[in-house]
């Protein structure tokens, strides 16, 4: 049952807001996710302020995590050893509001009017509720919150209250440390989301509270990170707190007052978090306190940030308000996951939940960095700098796997492999190529030669070394890479996965093209040779590239499998899935999107036609890619269907796990679907290429790309694609067969012949 798109009365379409107009208790966890706020560093779920109304509330700081020794039921050499899991930090979104002796809650009180909103234009979350109190009073509360961007540890909350008659008001504002709740309660049914730490995780260090102010800190038991929290309260009219209590689990500040009829009282709660790693010499309480800002300042900061964001990152789709709202919500999530992450990985759920344990995967490079590279190149660079920082650990990991170079962890927070199931973890060696690929694209898009000549080269060279030692030249003279898992985790530990080999080939060639003193000509020659002789499995019966050497010999999946048996990984043993011809997500088709220049139009079409029907889309990474390639190979209906599926994955909770957090990679895929799918943008080297496929029902598509210090505007209609460029020098763009050059004040338009768009 779709959540948003099937109930437009409760969730009306609004191009700049996500709005909920009535409360219902079911799917409360998923709604907390889609109403979450974040800045890439600090995130707070969209939970209601009343403790009675929450499902899975939480506040998270990217990278603030606990570690533990992974206990394998049956261990073997080289298995991942260090579990890592993002932690709940003490949560400030908690008020108990008592009116004339009645505690307000959506569950227990009479609600006359209700409206929850996240405003994409300002980043401000609002709940406005009108309550019919048992005392006869009609009370309106308006709760607002926003995270800071200028200061990324800031969180601002306000709670306004107005009554139609004099009421007694008793408000307890709390800071709740939820960390020690059993992990089981926070994980949905997906068995990959394991992770355990026993006993208390956040150990109290400083616990001060006085006069409505809290100054507190905790330390994690194993990872030895510290978090400091400073909270100040200000009630309008200068009313003072009657009680302030600091405790390691619950800290409270209580206000008791009488509110006259028609008067609005406002409680402002300024919150500031500061974190420090083990050994870092930082007084986290002082740092948090020093960074505290008034609520109004944080709200203004958030609005200002989003003003700048939308000015360059908005995408206007001429496909109706509902779609525009959903697209902006996805773009909003991308900003929330990345804006102030700084040098860090981007968790698969951003900072909206603890799903996937807060880990960073390959999807940040393949699904998120296209968006970042063209809208926020500094953030793209930061992600890659983070990967570069992990190189020493990746070299150690390569040694553990008996290979050269660097082997990046499949999933990690601190840099150590945290995937306890290697067949869908460590075996995904392709993450190395994803990092190399993203580094390369960032360099094309940004023109950042410093990064190119330093970190990008390190990343390219170390991953190339990994590939040549992982693979080998077979008796047939070809270069083979065996025993790997591709993006499609429904086959695992296969030989010559096409995606892996195609991406490794790119990686080897890109590394061979780097000049570096510590790379010998011999080494470079081996890379070039391995790339040139890379084996790409091809099936002559179907005249299509094969996902791996054996894929075409597998037994077909039984497509009469009932819908409630999906996703397959939750209902079938891996051995059952692995031996059948069934895909979790695009694999060969993804290779043909990323390395588009290596395949003919016919090869891409045949691959799409072969793989699309046997791809379950059980992964949220799939629909966007299937849609992009559907557009390219001439299936416009399928392209729009896949896109629509992707754009509502979280808004409709269509995978039933939005409660765990926003699927950030899918949100990134939405950006790519629009820019690379419908506008048909491809990059490989310095020239951008466009082959637009505007859906027939849309009247246009407008977006901008940051390019080498400038801003390239792209405006697509059915008749033409028009470019403007505001930046240094000029930019050349190829539209199908036409090359145009755009400069500042010198736009260019290319007419589009509708017949060129393939239609089947």
């Amino acid at each position: 049952m779709a959540l948003i798109s099937s109930d437009r009365i409760r969730f009306p379409a609004d191009p700049w807001r996500l709005v909920e107009t009535s409360h219902a208790p079911d799917k409360a966890g998923a709604l907390e996710t889609i109403f979450a706020l974040g800045n890439g560093h600090l995130g707070i779920r969209g939970a209601h302020w009343s403790p009675a109304d929450v499902a899975l509330p939480g506040t998270f700081i990217n990278g603030f995590h606990e570690t533990w020794d992974i206990k394998h039921a049956e261990n073997a050499f080289g298995f991942a050893r260090t579990g890592q899991r993002i932690l709940h930090v003490p949560d400030a979104n908690n008020y108990t509001v008592v009116i004339d002796g009645e505690e307000l809650s959506l569950e227990g009180s009479t609600v006359l009017d209700y409206r929850r909103t996240v405003d994409f234009a300002t980043g401000i979350y609002t709940t406005a509720v009108t309550w019919a109190c048992r005392s006869g009073a009609v009370v309106q509360t308006v709760g607002r919150r926003a995270v800071g961007f200028a200061v990324r540890g800031n969180l601002a909350l306000s709670l306004e209250l107005t009554s139609d008659r004099m009421v007694s008001v008793d408000i307890t504002s709390a800071l709740v440390n939820r960390q020690d709740q059993p992990v089981e309660e926070t994980a949905a049914a997906d068995p990959r989301r394991s992770g355990r730490h026993a006993g208390r995780v956040l150990l109290p260090l400083q616990m001060d509270g006085t006069d409505g102010s809290l100054r507190m800190s905790w330390q994690t038991a194993e990872s030895r990170q510290r978090v400091g929290v400073a909270v100040d309260h200000a009630l309008s009219g200068g009313v003072q707190a009657v009680e302030t209590m600091a405790g390691q689990d619950v800290s409270t500040v209580r206000f008791v007052l009488a509110v006259p009829a028609g008067e609005t009282v406002a409680l402002e709660k300024s919150v500031s978090y500061a974190v420090a790693d083990e050994g870092e010499d930082l007084d986290v309480v002082s740092a948090a306190a020093a960074a505290l800002r008034p609520v109004a300042e944080v709200f203004a900061d958030s609005a200002s940030h989003y003003g700048r964001y939308w000015a360059t990152s908005d995408i206007v789709v001429g496909g109706g308000e509902e779609l525009q709202q959903a697209v902006r919500w996805n773009l909003f999530q991308l900003a929330q996951a990345t804006a102030r992450a700084d040098v860090a990985g981007i968790p698969a759920k951003g900072v909206t939940g603890s799903g996937y344990e807060g880990h960073y995967f390959w999807d940040q490079e393949i699904y998120l960095l296209p968006y970042l590279s063209y809208t926020n190149p500094e953030a793209a660079r930061n992600v890659l700098l983070f990967r570069h920082k992990l190189l020493p650990l990746a070299r150690v990991r390569a040694t553990e796997l008996s290979i050269d170079g660097a082997l990046f962890p499949w999933r990690t927070i601190g840099g150590l492999e945290a995937s306890a199931y290697y067949a869908a973890g460590t075996a995904q060696f392709h993450i190395g190529a994803a990092i190399a690929f993203a580094a390369n694209r960032y360099v094309w898009a940004s023109g950042d030669h410093t990064f190119r000549d330093n970190q990008a080269r390190d990343l390219l060279v170390e991953t190339a070394r990994m590939w040549v030692s992982l693979g080998f030249f077979g008796a047939d003279g070809a270069f083979h890479i065996h025993g790997v898992t591709g993006p499609d985790e429904y086959t695992a530990v296969v030989n010559d996965n096409l995606y892996t080999n195609v991406m490794a080939r790119f990686n080897l060639r890109a590394a061979a093209a780097c000049r570096r003193d510590d790379v010998s000509d011999e080494e470079r020659t081996v890379w070039q040779e391995a790339a040139d002789r890379m084996h790409l499995p091809f099936d002559r019966t179907h005249n299509v590239y094969a996902q791996d050497n054996d894929f075409m010999t597998l037994e077909p999946w039984d497509w009469n499998t009932p819908r409630d048996k999906y996703p397959l990984l939750l209902h079938f043993h891996p051995l059952v899935i692995y031996r059948h011809q069934v895909l979790k997500q695009a694999d060969t088709v993804l290779a043909m999107f990323l390395q588009w220049q290596e395949f003919t139009a016919d090869e891409k079409r045949r691959a799409f036609e072969f793989y699309d029907p046997i791809t379950t889309g059980d992964s949220t990474l799939s629909a966007c890619v299937q849609g992009i390639m559907a557009a390219e190979v001439g299936y416009p209906m399928e392209a729009l269907e896949h896109f629509t599926e992707a754009v509502f994955i979280d808004l409709d909770d269509s995978h039933n796990n939005t409660v765990d957090g926003v699927h950030i990679a899918s949100a990134g895929g939405i950006w790519s679907s629009l820019v690379s799918g419908f506008a048909g943008m491809r990059d490989q080297g310095l020239m951008l290429y466009f082959d637009p496929r505007l859906p027939a029902g849309w009247d246009g598509l407008d977006f901008q790309l940051k390019m080498r210090g400038g801003l390239l505007g792209v405006s697509l209609t059915h008749e033409a694609i028009t470019f403007s460029y505001d930046g240094p020098a000029t930019v050349s763009v190829k539209v199908r067969d036409t090359v145009v050059t755009v400069g500042s004040g010198c736009p260019a338009s290319v007419p589009l012949d509708a017949r060129e768009a393939l239609v089947h």
Copy 2:
């Protein structure tokens, strides 16, 4: 460093005994294993009686185990859920002997003479030690023990003491419950040997002790099995115990006396165990007490049992005393692992240790049942009856794996899959064929038509149903079985493993030949069709059968790997091992041994030549099979080398894990090496076939086979093979091309032309 074979002063060759003539503390755990006693139900490690001198002491009862929920670090659908582990039962082998105030121990006292013996002819374990006490006395102690056979829960221990002068003696005889020791302490480095249960496992039920008698019982916390123990003490001269204390961890009976010079006092300790499963209405204490027998009676029972055993099961090898001793030690272990197991599985370590957690694997069918079928058919039948009892659970497990019929657990005690690593566990579907194969062989050997028409048919039919639903008819028209692991666990989850397909083919054909009302002709036809069209991968480049569809394309292993990096599984990540052409143990070569009639001599030779050099033998299951096939295909030197390696695996602790228990499958392989390797016996159907390959340096080989109620004597020299038969009717035997018929009082001899034995 070899243990036994390199130190013939400490461990002199004796064809009927294992003897240790001096004490040294290192390898104490391995020695406890090779000096262990057992009857297949009850086992006691060969630990010294002084608590100061033990390494890893223990007493075990086959099938007495604890269960726990397996915690997978990353779980998935259908993963094994119930951990099972054999338990230490309270151990009676524990005396503290104090002479004139000095506690005797090999570690702390002055030892003048020492001799530890296990007598294969009687099953009696003896340690005779002469101590120079600090008081000046020279004291001799002789400890003896044996397990019962007539009553399988019986254990008898005696301790005699003689002094050259009057001494004061203070003996505390204990019963020690060691179950709650951390599991880590009991497991060697092999990472497959996991298993955890937290907290106390054996919970006390009845704890009575009085006048030197203990009547006690415990219950396991989770599996709810109960064990009762009755212990009686008798000291010569009627000396009474001064103190008897029963405790859940340690129970003690203490004797204090003065022993005059030259007089021998003897303390006899009769022990009896009884166990009951959950829900079984048995008073285990009363049952144990009722079964108590005097020590002398148990000793006589043991000697009598072995008298009968060797009369029909001995193998005389004309290859010298050292080899004869080692062969008899292996045959002795086979008896100890199976004699009174009754209807139960045979743990991979018998009852000599808790290695492999006391689990039953496929090796009981492939490595142990050939021996049992021809020496102890009733025991073979019991093992198969046990498998038959597990059919209901195996049907459930098949459903969990989305297949029909029955899927037997890769490793189990109670019948549930206990392998937490499916790639080397559940994926070894070939266990089903092993069970079908063993059932079939038992029927040939025994002529047991009742079993054939009942349990054997159930086993054949249910496994055949498993195979046809696991595999499929591919587009090439052939029947394929994908996503399986063969015996060689150094490749895993491969397609069309030759061993699996060959054994499945046998299984399908044997099932198709069964007549059963609930099997339709259509079903039978599908089995026959799948068997006839079974794909067997063959490599035309090397002109050799391929281990699986991809094996020949794998990268060669680096054979410069240093010796201390073996076994590979302890030093390389599975992904590294799996992608290389390297074998843990015989796989294709094993298929050609078991389904010998399906391959030409040339095919076998080429397979041996290809696979033998790339087989590490990291598994103790390998050497015996490699040796058997070396003999068949004409490599007599290699045959003898592999055999010699196999025969000393535990005696020399050559795999460094004998501490965990005797490798029973390898011991079974010794029997097969002699009977099928050097005597060249093959069976498939009713006629036995012999193609002898007596090692050049041996002067003969003599053994007997139980055949259809009779006893077939086989006597092999370089000149002839001679058969005698004592039993009903006659038996026909084929020697190379000659068929002879042997009847009671009517032996037959076939001369052997030495030239017929292939020599390369």
